[in-house]
């Protein structure tokens, strides 16, 4: 039993972006317990000021490499909202496919490359390539499938090219969609294998719970990712236009990042939040898999976020197949090559919200009459989770502080990783502070 | 497809030996794996291939009269292919295409005085002709060799040069641009053009063959002009970027007022009179 604990995790590994964990205890008394975000600021909300409406999605896509499709779509939706630009049903379906591709890609990366090593007591996926070659190859196959999907729909796996205001500069061919559908259908074995693998490791998932408010989009007709209202597990529905009422950004002295809160001190967004709020709308096989893990909303164990991601991957595959079938049944409406919709820019403010792998994302732009951006605000999922991570840590540390220091460090790292934080995209981090 | 069908397919060859000659130059003795002779004329070149890196045109530095089936290349390390070639050892394999190009006009030179003027690496292609004429000494009249490099340590083919110095049936002269104080050097100090005024040239009966870096040509030609050497009695070897070696890729074409030339096919050896009006030649 250790009375004095000093944990300094500088640049937590296997997460996107830079964050530190610092815990100090003296004689069993916790003196400090902090989750710190130390990503260098990138000033996106200033970068876009004065830029043309045709460029904003290109710029804001660069907020995050992993969620670049999500950022692009939130950005386009905000611009389209500001200028009343219509998007065809077909293009909306294609955009949903793009979002599914990104969701799958990011979740598979997180579950397979970043979280699994913890559960398998390995420091990274690299040693696993030798000890568990088959499993690693399964994960790689799913990852590649997800990327192929982004490629076919958006032109590239990272920083999509085809997504533009009003629709697509180029759309996939029916043959490409058909092929994609075949590949998606061929992935069920791999999906089951990954689910089973995690099922076998379920005992390694810490049994930690804390009552939490969950926030995500919600929609009557579907498991909401691209469209919908804001939904809180505590306070119910709010229209997207009123997102500021929900996010309520504030600063706290001991933290480096802006926190958000709605009904409680903090809330959680992401796969677990989506499952908690929209469980009934999951696709059939996704639901089966969730049941294997005895998933019963409301689930208040943040470590279950990883499981929720696995469930969502299955949902994304099934829902993508459904979307492609619909598109093919209706027949793809051809569009011009190098399509660029005829749009007259105009002044106004627009807000776009989409669910990206790590949770709900808001872009909010104001344009002048020439379509130059005058003001922007982006609220990123990871920012919304920082407060919740901190509060989880505060609850968890006293329970585990008596364990060996290494073990404490591992649990805390695992906790942060379970949130799959995407720190480099946190646009609202404050006050860089380094551990000496 | 067999070899004859593709001019781009190299033949396999083996490095028989590697000799370091100076800081940046090594001499490679090479034999075709077919066992056949390369069958080149002095002044011709080959394309040397290192699979995965690329090809480089290199003059054949040995004389066709050399014993055995092997030939020699003197390669300066300057870039991609040549850097990697420098790491190769005895027994390693490379690819060879060629010989390519028009070499020196041996028939025309036969029976005349020949003056060789080599600057730096320019000795590499000239050595092929020098050794040819030394091996057939009786077929040529007076032979003069003027060889210059920047510093004594950059002198190539040291053993052979040592022999040239001692030969009494040729007139060998050498110079270095500069000589560090701690190096012993008995030859001349000064750029290569300083050797030219001191030699006698029988204007009716001699040919001058020049090879060196572009800047050297300008000064040497100036000096030869002062000596009243007729332009058509001067031959020189040019270097250009090349990708195919067989007159297709377009890279080595040079422009002039009158016509165009392909270094890989029309050269690399040119009669000065034919290219003197080419703005891009020198």
């Amino acid at each position: 039993m250790s009375e004095d604990v000093d944990i300094d995790v500088e640049y937590l590994t296997r997460v996107e972006g830079h964050g530190n964990i610092e815990v100090n205890a003296r004689n069993g008394k916790i003196e400090k317990c902090e989750w710190q975000v130390v990503e260098a600021p990138r000033f996106f909300e200033s970068l876009v000021v004065d830029r043309d409406w045709t460029e904003l999605h290109h710029v804001t896509s660069r907020i995050c490499g992993i969620c670049s499709i999500g950022h692009t779509l939130a950005s386009l939706k905000a611009t389209e909202d500001a200028m009343d630009i219509d998007v065809s049903e077909q293009d909306k379906k294609l955009r949903k496919l793009a979002l599914h591709g990104e969701n799958m890609q990011s979740h598979v990366l997180h579950v397979g490359y970043l979280a699994l090593p913890d559960l398998m007591d390995s420091k990274s996926v690299v040693p696993l390539t030798e000890t568990h070659e088959e499993e690693v190859k399964t994960v790689i196959r799913l990852h590649r499938l997800a990327n192929e999907m982004s490629d076919v729909i958006t032109g590239r796996t990272t920083h999509p090219q085809r997504l533009i205001p009003g629709g697509f500069s180029k759309i996939p061919t029916e043959n490409e969609l058909m092929e994609l559908k075949n590949k998606l259908e061929g992935s069920f074995n791999d999906l089951t294998a990954v689910a089973n693998l995690l099922n076998d490791l379920e005992s390694k998932i810490p049994a930690f719970e804390r009552e939490t408010e969950y926030i995500s989009l919600t929609h009557e007709d579907e498991f909401a990712l691209y469209d919908g209202d804001i939904c809180s597990s505590d306070t119910g529905r709010t229209p997207v236009e009123e997102y500021l009422e929900i996010t309520n950004e504030y600063t706290v002295p001991q933290s480096t990042a802006k926190y958000t809160k709605n009904n409680r001190e903090s809330y959680m967004v992401g796969a677990l939040a989506r499952l908690n709020n929209n469980y009934g709308q999951l696709s059939p096989m996704a639901k089966d898999i969730a049941e294997k893990f005895d998933f019963d909303p409301l689930v208040c164990n943040p470590f279950m976020n990883t499981i929720a991601q696995v469930v969502e991957v299955v949902h994304s595959v099934e829902d993508s197949i459904r979307l492609i079938e619909e598109l093919l049944d209706e027949g793809l409406e051809e569009q011009e090559e190098y399509n660029s919709p005829d749009i007259e820019p105009k002044a106004g403010r627009g807000i776009g919200a989409v669910e990206v792998p790590r949770g709900i994302l808001f872009h909010d732009y104001t344009y002048d009459k020439d379509g130059k951006c005058t003001e922007a605000n982006c609220v990123i999922p990871t920012n919304q989770n920082h407060g919740n991570i901190q509060l989880d840590m505060e609850k968890m540390v006293p329970d585990i502080i008596s364990k060996p220091e290494e073990e404490v460090e591992k649990q805390l790292s695992m906790l942060v990783r379970a949130y799959d934080p995407c720190i480099s995209c946190s646009t609202h981090d404050l006050n860089i502070k380094f551990i000496d | 497809m067999n070899k004859k069908d593709s001019p781009y397919l190299p033949e396999n060859a083996t490095i028989l030996s590697v000799e370091k000659m100076a800081e940046r130059e090594k001499l490679f003795e090479i034999e075709l794996d077919s066992g056949e002779q390369l069958g080149h004329d002095p002044g011709q070149f080959v394309e040397v291939s290192v699979p995965g890196v690329g090809e480089a045109p290199i003059s054949i530095s040995s004389s066709p009269t050399k014993e055995g089936n092997s030939f020699e290349l003197c390669i300066r390390k300057v870039g991609n292919v040549t850097n990697v070639i420098h790491n190769l050892k005895e027994g390693d394999k490379i690819g060879i295409r060629g010989p390519y190009g028009e070499g020196f006009p041996v028939e025309e030179l036969r029976g005349h005085d020949v003056i060789f003027i080599a600057g730096g690496l320019g000795i590499a292609p000239l050595r092929s002709l020098i050794n040819y004429s030394l091996d057939n000494r009786e077929e040529f009249e007076d032979i003069k060799i003027l060889y210059g490099c920047r510093k004594p340590c950059e002198l190539l083919y040291e053993d052979e040069v040592e022999e040239w110095r001692d030969m009494n049936n040729i007139d060998y002269r050498e110079t270095v641009d500069e000589c560090p104080d701690d190096v012993c050097w008995e030859g001349n100090v000064g750029v290569i053009t300083t050797l030219i005024p001191g030699i006698d040239i029988d204007l009716d009966n001699s040919y001058t063959v020049v090879c060196g870096p572009p800047i050297m040509y300008r000064f040497v030609l100036q000096e030869l002009k002062e000596k009243k050497v007729p332009d058509e009695r001067i031959y020189l070897s040019l270097e250009r970027r090349m990708k195919c070696g067989v007159g297709k890729c377009g890279h080595c074409q040079i422009n002039g007022e009158k016509e165009e030339l392909y270094v890989c096919q029309d050269g690399p050896v040119f009669n000065y009179d034919n290219i003197k009006d080419f703005e891009e030649a020198l």
Binding site: R51 | G52, V84
Partner: protein, 253 residues
Amino acid sequence: MKPEERPKAAFFDFAGCEGDQLQVANLEEKILDLLNIVELVSFREVMTEHSDDYDVAFIEGSITDSHAEERLKEIRNNADIVVAIGACATIGGINSIRNAQDFEKVQERVYGDEREHYEAWEKAKPAKAVVDVDYEVHGCPIDREEFLHVVQSIVMGREPNIPDYPVCVECKLNENVCAFERDEFCVGPVTRAGCDSCCVNEGTICWGCRGMIDNPNEEAHEEVLEEYGLTAEEVMKKFDLYFTWQKEAREDE
């Protein structure tokens, strides 16, 4: 041409979106092949193991504060070969848009009253502005195949082929309809090729993410854009999406 020993490689990230490291992860099965030619000793995004004993360091992201500068200098000291990957690390990337903005305003827009808390440079810099960089893999994000080509070249001891001609070359090889023939504007004529004109192939324009070629005809392109109907200010905006740092560096020369 395969060397006997695998060089040790390490990845480091600075201010950027980590999309380039993601592109490396996106090599999928080829990662396993890559591990046959290099030994991965540090890659924070995917592994907890870390070692300071590496031969080749890959740098992603821009350098935006003195802490990052120190860190990069240390990496330079440890590594034989430093490779900058992605636009943020090669030319300042999207981050350098702010180099042309008033920094006071930049901070205020994002952080309001709390801007004082920062230690961030006024200008975002690419890696080569801080240390010597041996190779660059351009693009936002990098092209996976080009990344592999550069790694392969380093392992083989040869120079990678990184074009120094404009994107128009590849755009024409791909038989695209030029942006200028569709009433759009493109910086392809001054941007370094090597991306296979991927954005134009997908129906848009070249935005310039690989940076300008070494000797661009900027003046001509500025004139042309104006002739095609852009205002001088709009022309500037075309150039300061990705070229701000490069332009300033050239002017300083």
